[in-house]
């Protein structure tokens, strides 16, 4: 079976695309899949540090596109995993150094020998976004339970529909169950009501994410990490397994609603 290209995008910046890409890559690779991640955020290279591979970069994606290196030469192997590779972004170039056609060609070159090609998209809806989405067989839309992030995700849903890239699958990141319970954070159901696209994962807010990016070892490598578990679940759903969504959250209960009413009318 030829490899599948999965692009991780969001519209709004800083919602967790790079974190998601690194963790899904690790989770898939740990399950024995051959995985390549592509950092499509040209000029703002980040996936390398989140994965802890920053010291091993020789060639980058622009070197491949412009013919200075072969794809294989630009693939940095993550030695902690059986078959996990990173193609880093160029740091000193901008998004126009790569075209959507270049991305399609690059991914097609990899499909023959790689099971999963994960593309980390830059924020926004401009050239970098179009580059990242062009080769995608499936698009994951990351958002946070927050008005501006959901609004931007809705924009992405509309753009993907226009490009006939399907509705995309939703990853709701940085959920704080206690705030949802109190009625002070949009719940997963609220966000699904609004975006009306299929859900593929809910990731809790977890301090361990920062610790793991400090160390350059994605949380999915850690069996005890809660966010890591959520990313491992998403990886299994990508493979077509049906994994139940653990309830990290509840709708505000009767007493919370009552308390909110009292506090507001006081």
């Amino acid at each position: 079976m030829p490899g599948k290209v999965v692009t991780v995008t969001s519209g709004k910046g800083g919602v967790g695309k790079t974190t998601t890409t690194a963790n899904l890559a690790v989770a898939l690779a740990a399950g024995g899949e051959k995985v390549v991640c592509i950092d499509a955020d040209i000029g703002l290279r980040n996936l390398d540090v989140v994965m802890g591979l920053e010291n091993r970069i020789v060639y980058d994606i622009v070197d491949v596109v412009e013919g200075r290196a072969r794809v294989r030469q630009a693939m940095i192997k993550d030695k902690r995993m059986p078959e996990l590779y990173l193609i880093p972004a160029a740091q000193t170039r901008d998004k126009s150094a790569v075209s959507p056609t270049d991305m399609i060609k690059l991914c097609n070159d990899l499909r023959g020998e790689i099971d999963w090609i994960l593309v980390d998209s830059p924020a926004g809806i401009e050239r970098g976004f179009r580059n990242a989405v062009a080769p995608a067989d499936q698009v994951l839309i990351v958002t946070n339970p927050e008005v501006s992030a959901v609004r931007d995700a809705d924009r992405i849903v509309g753009l993907l529909e226009a490009e006939e890239k399907g509705p995309g699958h939703l990853i709701l990141n940085r959920v704080k169950p206690d705030m949802v319970k109190r009625g002070d954070m949009l719940s997963t159901d609220d966000v699904l009501d609004i975006l009306a696209i299929p859900l593929i994962g809910v990731v809790p807010e977890d301090e361990g994410i920062l610790v793991s990016s400090n160390r350059g070892s994605p949380a999915a490598m850690d069996d005890k990490s809660r966010a890591g578990q959520a990313f491992r679940d998403i990886a299994r759903r990508l493979k077509g397994e049906s994994v139940p969504f653990p309830s990290l959250e509840d709708k505000p209960g009767f007493f919370q609603k009552l308390a909110a009413r009292f506090s507001r009318s006081a």
């Binding site: 008005v147 509309g158 529909e161 109190r182 002070d184 949009l186 009501d193 609004i194 909110a260 507001r264």
Partner: protein, 92 residues
């Protein structure tokens, strides 16, 4: 106190998550259709003008809104008619 009682009965939005959801729903209607509130206002005035040519309406009560289902939007007009006192059309 009556306000407090209403809240207890769940008549008004209470939590910040609920207001986030309601605000999102409103802003997305406009994002998705590219129809600004100003355009809607113009539309409303023109609709009132056209309909008034044929029947008496309560112009102050006219509402033109965008509503949405899953990912489809529709324009919903609510136009109250003024009823003629005798049941027939009023002579002007």
């Amino acid at each position: 106190m009556s306000n407090w009682f209403e809240r207890l009965l769940g008549r008004s939005p209470t939590t910040s998550a609920q207001s986030a959801k309601e605000r999102l729903q409103l802003v997305l209607i406009h994002d998705r259709t590219d129809l600004s509130p100003a355009v809607l206002e113009t539309l409303k005035d023109e609709i009132i003008a056209v309909i008034s040519k044929h029947v008496d309406i309560d112009a102050g009560g006219v509402e033109i809104n965008l509503s949405q289902g899953q990912r489809e939007n529709r324009l919903v007009a609510n136009i109250p008619l003024l009823s003629a006192p005798t049941g027939r059309r009023r002579a002007r």
